[in-house]
Structures are given as structure tokens and as C-alpha cells.
């Protein structure tokens, strides 16, 4: 199995509080890895450390190694970090459309990174919106402000925006928790489709969602990884007692 992301002894400190302790995990490429665990245990922190988004906040210290395709991204200089981030798309819990038109949202990343002509841009925007399943709903109003879309549409827009820059990894932080059930289902279907092209890391605190979509599972409990492995194994034959307790609903 090919592992896209690996961490070695990763420790993250928030205000001198050890939020993530000695994390050693492997995320397989082109599969959907679900990160599960009770709220506040560090799932989001782990996700944001992968694209070095943590350092935007002050008072966050990271030690250890995060290897992406074999290279330790923590070694990179500050000026090189935007390029790392390009490799990792982020889908947040709350959809954050940029304060621009729908077209401009998707084109934002494209404009920054590539010198494309208008026709190339138009085509790329259409492709991404198609992949995100949004094209038919917005093709007539591409230049309307993105904030006019419904929450579900906004989230799909954020997805289109993220895949526009052709990342290799999609980091999803509870992307459906703010949405209604129908939109949530749409996003899940999209993720299942997209995992063939991208490595998807999905943080979720709904076990049912994890069971529906995950190929690989990582269980985090109070900042420590207690168990990781293929979904079938972890869900059906959990080894750690806490994992068992969580799966049964005793904790979290």
C-alpha cells in the first residue's frame, strides 16, 4: 500500500498544552481515511498540521516529522509553505465562500498559480463545477456573489474551488456538520467519487458517516492515536478498549 502522508513522533503544543502527543500515523494514497474520536481531542489540529495551517495562530509549537511523499514539510521555509498548501485542499466545517462571484471563487487559485488564458480559465472553472456537481445549478449565474448560494451549494463551491488547483490530498474538517441531510448526502457522494483521484482525509464525529465512506480509520482520543487501520478491521475488530467504548457509544 502506498502511503501519501506519514507522521513520525508528531507533537503539537497549544500554549504549552500538549494537544497532540507522539502521533505516528500513515495515510494511504487515493483512499478515504476517516479520523474519528470524541470532540476536542485534536482531530482538527491534526488535519491543520498537514498543510501547516497551524502556524498562522501564534503560540503553536510543532515537533517531529510530517512526511508528504517522503519529504518532511516541517523543514520547509515560510516562503515555500504556500506551495505545500497547494498540494492539500481544505474543506472546512463552515463553508467560507470568498467574497467574490462564483466564477471568481473557483478561479481564485487558478489565477494565482497558473497563467491561463480566459478560455482556459472558463473551461477549468466549468470542469471543477461539474465535478462538484454544481454546474447545472450555477451555470446561468456565474458572476453572482457566492454568498447568495445556499449552504449546501456553498460547500460544493468550496469543494470545486479546492480541486481547481489540482491538489493531491483533500483535507475535510467535518464538512457536512453544518449542512442539511440532503446536502450532506451530496457531499458524501462527491467525496466517494473524488477519492479515486485524491487522497481524502475526513475528520468526522459522526460514526455512521465514517462507516459509510471510510476505507481507512484513525482513532484519536485526547491527543493520542489509539488505533489505526483498514476500516473493516477497526470497526469490526477494534483492539484498544477505548476504541471499543467509543464505537459502542459509551464515550464521546
Amino acid at each position: 500500500m502506498n502511503y501519501q502522508i506519514e507522521t513520525k513522533n508528531l507533537n503539537v503544543y497549544y500554549h504549552n498544552n500538549n494537544a497532540l502527543k507522539n502521533i505516528n500515523i500513515k495515510i494511504p494514497a487515493k483512499q478515504l481515511t476517516a479520523v474519528i474520536g470524541p470532540s476536542g481531542c485534536g482531530k482538527t489540529t491534526l488535519l491543520k498540521s498537514f498543510n501547516r495551517l497551524l502556524e498562522i495562530q501564534d503560540d503553536v509549537k510543532t515537533s517531529g516529522q510530517i512526511l508528504v511523499d517522503g519529504e518532511n514539510i516541517l523543514d520547509y521555509k515560510a516562503s515555500e509553505v504556500p506551495d505545500i498548501r497547494k498540494k492539500m485542499g481544505l474543506l472546512s466545517q463552515k463553508p467560507y465562500p470568498l467574497p467574490m462571484s462564483i466564477y471568481e471563487n473557483v478561479a481564485y487559485g487558478l489565477r494565482i498559480h497558473h497563467n491561463k488564458t480566459k478560455e482556459e480559465l472558463d473551461q477549468a472553472v466549468e470542469n471543477c463545477l461539474q465535478e462538484a456537481g454544481l454546474w447545472n445549478e450555477v451555470k446561468d449565474r456565474l458572476h453572482d456573489p457566492a454568498t447568495r448560494l445556499s449552504l449546501g451549494q456553498q460547500q460544493r463551491l468550496c469543494l470545486a474551488r479546492a480541486i481547481a488547483v489540482k491538489p493531491e490530498v483533500l483535507l475535510c474538517d467535518e464538512p457536512t456538520s453544518a449542512l442539511d441531510p440532503i446536502s450532506a448526502q451530496q457531499i458524501e457522494k462527491l467525496l466517494l467519487k473524488l477519492k479515486k483521484e485524491f487522497t481524502v482525509v475526513l475528520v468526522t464525529h459522526t460514526l455512521r458517516q465514517a462507516k459509510r465512506v471510510a476505507d481507512y480509520v484513525i482513532f484519536i482520543y485526547f491527543g493520542e492515536v489509539l488505533e489505526q487501520g483498514p476500516a473493516k478491521e477497526v470497526f469490526n475488530h477494534p483492539k484498544h478498549p477505548q476504541t471499543k467504548a467509543y464505537l459502542v457509544g459509551e464515550i464521546g
Binding site: I56, D83, Y96
Partner: protein
């Protein structure tokens, strides 16, 4: 129990009286300016410069020199203050600057905001003398810029601080650099607040007299170059409010009316804009 209720009622009356005094003052101020200023308005007031000699105007002409002078002073000053203030306000974000540094800078900005404008005027005047320059538009603009920077920056900083972190993170995760995100995303998101801040700075700049009184000089003509002296609406009021010649005094009243209208418009405009744009940008 009775005593307590009586006490409360007494204070209620006092409170209402206080409020009446405050609101009453505003009504009186607007009233006086309108009553004296409105009749002083005429087409000539707006379109002509004063004729006759410096202090003694012959009773004809208007205050076009002051109107244009005020615009020529306040608009460039506000533009400069906007540019400088934008750089500072954007840099104050946590993304760029450590909290203790930004806290210190914000504190300095607050303190500078409270400095009376005469100090900026004195400083620029002395500098001007030292450099051998004359009182002119240029020096006046510099003085006004200095005055407006803390005001505009403060409002912009508030607006920029309210940009949700998740939005910035979304931009960063697309590979956007900090500067790009600041310019393209943060600035747009905070636009209504930024605009309101600029308007309020402009309002302050147009109305201020102390900083430009001796730095921009006085002239009956419309300034044609940046090294010319110029009149401005506040200086017209200040110089001519006690003039024994009625026509000259009328100019002061007219100027006061125009000034007040400008300030009111800016106040209303910034409120409306903030409210309208908030609908588009709600997060």
C-alpha cells in the same frame, strides 16, 4: 419602599433632563447653523471667489475658494491616510505580527487618535519654517494626513479584525500567500468597514481647523498649484465669524452650513453603507 420609589423617580426625571440637554444641544447647533447659514446661501456663494481685499471683502463674491480649497486639502490627505492606514491595519493581523507587537501599536494608535489637531499643526508649521517652505496646500495636506491616519486606521483595523479566520484559512489552503490573501480576500471582506472608516476620516479632515490654520495659509483665490496658499471652509469660519461687515460674516455662516451638511451626509452615508454591505458579507 416609598422612599426608594421616590428616589428612583427623581433620578428618572434627572435622566430625562440630561438627555434633553444633550439632544437639545444638537438641535440648537443644527438649528443655529441652518437659520444663519441657509439664508446666506446663494449661487454666487458657491461659484465665486471673494472679491475685494483680504479682510475687508467688498460684499460680493462667494466662497468657492474655500470650498475647493477644502476639497483639495481633504481628498488627497484622506487618500494618503488610507494607503498608509491600510498597510498598517492589514499588518496588525495576527497573521503578520505577534500579538504583543500589534497590541502596542493599537495602543499607540488609540493614544494618537486623542491628540489635539493643533499639535499636528504646530509640528508641521515648525517643520515648514525649518525647511524654508511657505504655508501651502502641500503642508496642509501633510498635516491633515497625520491627523487622519490614526482615525482611519482604527476603524479599518476593527473591520479587518472581524474577518473570520476560517475565511483566511480557506484562502491559505489554496496556496495563497499572506500578502495575497490580505490584499485580495481580507480587504474585500472588510470593505464596508474600511469604506466607513475612510468616510469618517474624511469628515474629520474637512472639518478640522487647527491643523490647517497656519499650515495652509489663506488666499482669496483658488489654488492652482500645490505650493499655493489656500482658504478652507473651517478657516473661513474662524477668521470671519466676528467680521463687522455683514457680507463677510455671511460667508462664515454659509461655510458653516456647508460644513455641517457635509458632516451629516458622511455620517448618514457611513451608517447606510455599513448596514447594506453587512447583508452581502454576513458570515
Amino acid at each position: 419602599m416609598n422612599r426608594r420609589i421616590i428616589e428612583e423617580n427623581v433620578f428618572k426625571i434627572l435622566m430625562l433632563a440630561s438627555l434633553a440637554i444633550v439632544l437639545g444641544s444638537l438641535v440648537i447647533i443644527v438649528g443655529i447653523v441652518v437659520i444663519n447659514g441657509f439664508p446666506a446661501l446663494s449661487i454666487e456663494m458657491f461659484t465665486q471667489t471673494p472679491t475685494g481685499r483680504y479682510y475687508l471683502g467688498q460684499g460680493s463674491g462667494g466662497i468657492l475658494n474655500a470650498i475647493l480649497g477644502s476639497l483639495f486639502l481633504a481628498l488627497p490627505a484622506t487618500a494618503l491616510a488610507y494607503l498608509i492606514g491600510l498597510a498598517i491595519a492589514l499588518y496588525l493581523q495576527r497573521d503578520f505580527l505577534h500579538p504583543w507587537a500589534s497590541s502596542f501599536i493599537r495602543f499607540t494608535l488609540d493614544v494618537l487618535w486623542g491628540i489635539p489637531s493643533i499639535i499636528y499643526g504646530v509640528f508641521c508649521f515648525m517643520f515648514m519654517i525649518m525647511l524654508g517652505m511657505r504655508a501651502s496646500l502641500l503642508v496642509g495636506i501633510i498635516a491633515l494626513t497625520l491627523l487622519e491616519i490614526p482615525i482611519i486606521t482604527r476603524y479599518m483595523d476593527e473591520a479587518i479584525s472581524m474577518v473570520p479566520r476560517g475565511l483566511k484559512e480557506s484562502a491559505y489552503s489554496l496556496g495563497s500567500t499572506k500578502f495575497e490573501t490580505a490584499m485580495k480576500v481580507v480587504r474585500r471582506q472588510a470593505f464596508p468597514g474600511i469604506l466607513a472608516g475612510v468616510l469618517l476620516g474624511l469628515g474629520r479632515g474637512i472639518g478640522d481647523a487647527a491643523s490647517i490654520l497656519f499650515t495652509s495659509g489663506f488666499s482669496s483665490d483658488i489654488p492652482t498649484s500645490i505650493f499655493d496658499s489656500t482658504a478652507a471652509l473651517p478657516t473661513i469660519i474662524f477668521r470671519f465669524y466676528t467680521s463687522p461687515i455683514p457680507a463677510v460674516q455671511q460667508r462664515a455662516y454659509a461655510a458653516a452650513f456647508i460644513l455641517l451638511m457635509i458632516v451629516l451626509t458622511i455620517s448618514i452615508a457611513s451608517r447606510l453603507l455599513t448596514r447594506r454591505f453587512k447583508k452581502h458579507v454576513i458570515k
